[in-house]
């Protein structure tokens, strides 16, 4: 990472570490959700921002993680074991899914992933013995970690996701992923094993959403199929990355802070319109701000700088 990136990162981390000391519970909850969105968006950025394979259903890994975390915690596992297992299970699921779906060309991959999130939701509804079906799972407050613990866990994920992205952006692996986004056939002809690279990126991109799902379950103490396999969540992580700037290090962070703040201030008033507004925003971004705010900033900077 460049020094400026390290500087920005250190400042954000410093603030986030001290935040529990001066924020009330409501504010801390909000910040936890921002950190969760940073984690999800960075993960989505890894597969979709870097390779151009747009996943419309990355929430499926979040949902799987949420159920894994909740069930393991209720089964008596340590909270951190539950989180770790959720991450690993999500990645273990991503590997075969990736083998199947990443052979599809971009648009078909997008549609397949959209379907997967729905499959997750339906399975969670039907597999009553395990998930409690539509009744969901209530986590005992005696077993769940407290808010501050959940907050710091989520912070760790967001830091990990951002550090990981910073490393990948500077690595040969990142360069190969960008080559795939530019022209997959030409990349393969340059000796890049495109299938292996996409598979690694996809599997890695499921890891942290799985962990985030588990922490989210601890934090809300109640999950059901429609709250963790949430269509809006899939759209949110996409909008966050597009808003900030896809394939960039700080885009997902900036996007998460902005989107979550705007939602908190306005859309909470119109829950019925939430998804429609998100969709509209996504379309506007694709049409008018494809590089996101950071991309636009760079362009303006190079024009007048």
């Amino acid at each position: 990472m460049r020094y400026s990136d390290l500087g920005i990162g250190a400042l954000l981390l410093f603030f986030s570490l001290l935040a529990p000391g001066f924020l009330n519970n409501y504010q801390l909850s909000f910040l936890l959700q921002v950190l969760m969105m940073v984690t999800l968006a960075q993960s989505w950025n890894l597969i979709s921002g870097m390779t151009g394979y747009i996943s419309f259903g990355h929430g499926v890994f979040f949902g799987v993680g949420a159920y894994t975390g909740a069930l393991l915690l209720m089964g008596g596992a340590f909270w951190w074991v539950a989180i770790l297992s959720a991450a690993l299970l999500a990645a273990a699921l991503a590997l075969p899914l990736g083998l199947l779906t990443l052979r599809l060309r971009g648009p078909y991959f997008a549609i397949a992933m959209l379907g997967l999130n729905e499959v997750g939701r339906i399975l969670a509804n039907l597999w009553v013995d395990l998930t409690g079906g539509g009744d969901g799972i209530a986590l005992s407050p005696l077993l769940s970690p407290v808010l501050a613990t959940n907050y710091f866990s989520m912070l760790a994920l967001a830091v990990l996701a951002t550090l990981g992205m910073g490393w990948i952006l500077r690595s040969r692996f990142g360069l190969e992923l960008r080559a795939i986004r530019e022209d997959e056939e030409a990349a393969e002809m340059l000796g890049i094993d495109t299938i292996r690279n996409k598979l690694i990126a996809f599997t890695a991109s499921a890891l942290l959403p799985g962990a985030a799902g588990a922490i989210y379950a601890f934090y809300t103490s109640f999950i059901d199929p429609s709250s963790v396999f949430l269509p809006a969540l899939n759209v949110q992580m996409i909008v966050v990355v597009l808003l900030g700037g896809r394939g960039t290090l700080w885009g997902p962070v900036l996007g998460a802070v902005l989107l979550m703040s705007v939602q908190e201030l306005t859309w909470a008033e119109f829950p019925a319109l939430h998804l429609a507004l998100l969709g509209l925003l996504m379309i506007l971004l694709v049409l008018y701000l494809p590089d996101g705010l950071l991309g636009a900033w760079k362009r303006i900077g190079s024009r007048y700088g």
């Binding site: 040969r172 360069l175 986004r181 022209d183 393969e188 340059l190 299938i195």
Partner: protein, 242 residues
């Protein structure tokens, strides 16, 4: 002792629906030589490169590269065996810089990739464009960068599909010089090219393809005298002799 041919093609066939693009092609590329592949537009030259490079895995027949049977292998595997290839229409990676275009094409374990890239760019006078995006280059420069990035892995055999098309005369000379140098260093090359004086000048051996079949093989002066070749070029509706 390695076989005298680096590339050996036997009975290569490829149909597109009803159109037979390759109708059983036999061809050898000798080690350290420049082999020309000429023929009218639509005769199957690019289709042959597509099959050899693994981009098209629907062709049937046999292809041996440096002793390995490669038909059906993915391009990245074939590249790992030592083959490099350029495209007829430039496929420089548009959103990557010139330097990144070269680096991404290097061997992952090549610790001198960056030096090598700078050296190559200097040779074709593109050193000032290192940090320019691929899409910002002129078309001719893009074709050159595409050629250079193939050189990053020092391939044993390079397939060049009309590398000079759209390149200005100055850069063109640089390009042919580079081809000559590569051969002197022992690289084998296969060249699709419409300019006959270039073929005459560079190629040790020439194959003439017409409607998916090899109709002549020999030195340039030999195939030039061949009546079938004359008929293919001048009796053809899409004649492209220039």
């Amino acid at each position: 002792m390695a076989e005298p041919s680096i590339l050996e093609i036997q009975g290569l066939r490829r149909d597109f629906g009803g159109v037979q693009a390759l109708g059983g092609v036999d061809l050898q590329v000798r080690r350290g030589k420049i082999t020309g592949l000429i023929g009218p537009n639509g005769s199957g030259k690019t289709t042959l490169f597509q099959a050899v490079s693994g981009m098209d895995r629907e062709a049937t027949g046999r292809i041996y590269f440096d002793g390995h049977s490669i038909l059906g292998l993915r391009p990245s595997r074939i590249v790992a065996l030592g083959l490099g290839r350029t495209f007829q229409l430039s496929r420089v990676l548009p959103g990557l810089t010139v330097l990144e275009n070269l680096l991404v094409a290097s061997r992952p374990d090549d610790s001198e990739a960056e030096d090598r890239a700078h050296n190559l760019l200097r040779q074709v006078h593109l050193e000032r464009q290192v940090h320019v995006l691929g899409k910002a280059l002129s078309y001719g420069q893009q074709k050159l960068v595409e050629f250079l990035r193939v050189l990053m892995r020092s391939p044993k055999l390079i397939l060049l599909d009309e590398p000079a098309a759209g390149v200005n005369p100055t850069l063109r000379r640089t390009l042919w010089e580079l081809v000559r140098q590569l051969q002197e260093q022992g690289t084998s090359l296969m060249l699709i090219e419409h300019h006959m004086e270039v073929i005459a000048d560079l190629c040790d051996e020439v194959y003439v393809l017409n409607e998916g079949r090899i109709i002549a093989r020999g030195t340039f002066s030999e195939v030039r005298e061949d009546p079938q070749v004359f008929a293919a070029y001048f009796g053809h509706r899409n004649r492209t002799a220039s």
